[in-house]
């Protein structure tokens, strides 16, 4: 009886609790690499958090100042290694802006096609690993099955499985043929069916919704002030996509596609479920773009003729600077390159979308439960190679 009274009375009144410092990462399955977060815990509630990054700092900017413009393209692969094509694209556009050249029409369509394929592959990883973060192992195996198909498709045209170095200043490395495009359309047909499977697996799963809805709510103001971009920003209700608003490739101007934004379907606008669902719908929009690219792709050269000559000697852009932004799967990737006329730039600054998206984490975590921290980190979909560079 006494025990029951102890249990039912205000039993917290004379219990002394102490703030606990909890270290999450850098070796932790849910930090998507080597992120380290230090958490101050009051019981199960997070009271404060500090992100600690830099465990994958690989000196990319210093390397950019020492190698030539062409030699730096493979290093951009290794920043956001889940979306190498998109990184190559941003770098190539920057160098082209410095040199005042433009890729031929066909190259632009090929670029859009492979970039969207890579966007699907990247979002598939986000989908699969998010399932693992929240305790659902099956989506991982489904996601990697489709991802393998994309890897094989891209390997056929570029020769590499993951880090392609395919889009280069002036165009693309190889032309694509009709047989390959047929394979891509077959993949698209297949993928749309699989996508419905994913939704039955994870999206509409009751447990999944309970774990993600109303968790990690990122308001529009906070997202904008912290420089969040991409699906993270769109899930907070801002309809902004560089592909539509500042089309940096011709196909994005001509193709029809929607910009999915968060609607707060199962909870509040800007929660983890919204971010997840924006990514899922973006995959289908990418399939739409790919189909239109295959339909409309014009004949022509895949590489700018004047650039082929320039490739024999190191590119020497005139003094100046260029800042180019591209819509990557994780947000807006920007390269700011300052040239003084030499073989290599004197400054090669990267605006990494994950870096800015991650900076909001310290503001999202306080007040939530520890289990929700994992859900929040997973929904931001960071790539540490890009955060640290």
């Amino acid at each position: 009886m006494e025990a029951l009274e102890m249990f039912t009375s205000d039993r917290n009144a004379d219990v002394y609790t102490e703030e606990l410092k909890l270290n999450l990462g850098p070796q932790h399955p849910s930090t998507h690499g080597v992120l380290r977060v230090e958490l101050a815990m009051d019981g199960e509630i997070i009271t404060d958090s500090w992100c600690d990054i830099g465990y994958l700092h690989r000196c990319a900017e210093k390397i950019g100042e020492n190698v030539t413009y062409l030699q730096f393209t493979p290093y951009t692969d290794r920043m956001d290694y889940l979306a190498s094509m998109n990184n190559n694209l941003a770098w190539s556009l920057t160098v082209e802006k410095l040199l005042d050249v433009e890729a031929p029409e066909r190259a632009q369509w090929i670029r859009a096609l492979v970039a969207e394929l890579n966007r699907i592959a990247s979002h598939l990883i986000a989908f699969g690993t998010y399932g693992i973060d929240l305790g659902a192992n099956t989506p991982f195996f489904y996601a990697f099955r489709e991802r393998e198909s994309i890897m094989q498709l891209l390997e056929k045209i570029s020769g590499a499985r993951m880090l392609y170095n395919f889009i280069r200043p002036g165009g693309v490395a190889n032309d694509i043929d009709d047989a390959w495009m047929d394979e891509v359309s077959a993949f698209c047909d297949d993928f749309e069916k699989r996508w419905v499977e994913y939704n039955t697996l994870l999206t509409d799963n009751f447990v999944f919704i309970q774990r993600t809805a109303n968790i990690g709510i990122l308001t529009k103001e906070l997202a904008l002030s912290n420089g969040c971009t991409g699906p993270v920003l769109r899930a907070s209700g801002v309809k902004w996509d560089l592909r539509r608003d500042v089309p940096y490739l011709e196909p994005y101007d001509e193709c029809e596609f929607d910009i999915p934004v968060g609607e707060g379907t199962h909870g509040t606008l800007g929660d983890c479920w919204d971010r997840y669902w924006v990514r899922m719908r973006e995959m289908i929009e990418s399939v739409r773009i790919i189909r239109q690219c295959i339909e409309k792709i014009p004949p022509g050269a895949h590489m700018e003729k004047s650039m082929v000559k320039m490739y024999k000697t190191p590119l020497k852009p005139p003094p100046g600077e260029a800042y180019v932004r591209c819509e990557n799967p994780r947000g807006e990737l920007g390269f700011y390159v300052v040239s003084e006329g030499g073989n290599s730039p004197i400054r090669c600054r990267t605006r990494a979308p994950s870096f800015c998206n991650l900076s909001v984490l310290d503001k999202l975590l306080p007040g939530t439960m520890l289990g929700d921290a994992v859900a929040t980190i997973g929904s931001l979909d960071i790539v540490l190679g890009e955060v640290d560079r």
Binding site: R58, K62, I63, F141, E148, R161, L163
Partner: protein
């Protein structure tokens, strides 16, 4: 098992027991869930359905170093991370094995020249059993590395007294 390591002379009985223990060890490698960079994605692909590492008894990644025998180091180790990698390795129980996956971990890779911050190969930090080069290595390459590691584990002597080779020194450096 560590207490019996290298204590007995070689004879028929110890040879047979060695064979059984080696077979057991090599058929149930538990790798650690540990991803650093690009190579980690290829490592995940090896665990996933298409390549299915579970065929070789190594498909159950453990989340903690204390439960795992194998640490695959998949990606560039920099000065800040090296301390952690060494600590993770020190936490693993004997026998423990290391696969260096990728060019950065084998010897610096693309970051060898201007990487002010990167460790030029994880073998500067922890002893490595198998090197799998490539940037990133294909999943087949990693699987080959794991098969090579299986052979290596199977040939390891458990009871027999070993010569003090450089390799056995490496193996026992954790006790120093």
């Amino acid at each position: 098992m560590g207490i019996l390591n290298n204590t007995l002379p070689s004879n028929t009985v110890t040879d047979a027991v060695d064979g059984v223990i080696g077979w057991g060890r090599k058929s149930s490698i538990w790798p650690m869930t540990f991803g650093i960079a690009c190579c980690a994605i290829e490592m995940m692909a090896v665990y996933a359905a298409t390549f299915d590492l579970d065929r070789f008894g190594a498909g159950v990644p453990r989340a903690t170093p204390r439960q795992s025998d194998l640490i695959i180091v998949p990606g560039t180790v920099n000065a800040k991370m090296a301390v952690r990698v060494k600590r993770l390795y020190d936490q693993m129980a004997e026998p423990r094995y290391v696969i260096a996956m990728g060019a950065c971990v084998c010897g610096g890779g693309p970051y060898v020249k201007w990487g002010y911050n990167t460790v030029k190969g994880v073998h500067k930090i922890i002893p490595v059993d198998i090197f799998v080069p490539g940037c990133p290595p294909r999943p087949e390459a990693l699987m080959d590395g794991i098969l090579k590691l299986r052979d290596k584990i199977g040939m390891n002597d458990v009871f027999r007294r070993q010569k003090e080779t450089a390799e056995s020194m490496n193996r026992s450096y954790g006790h120093l």
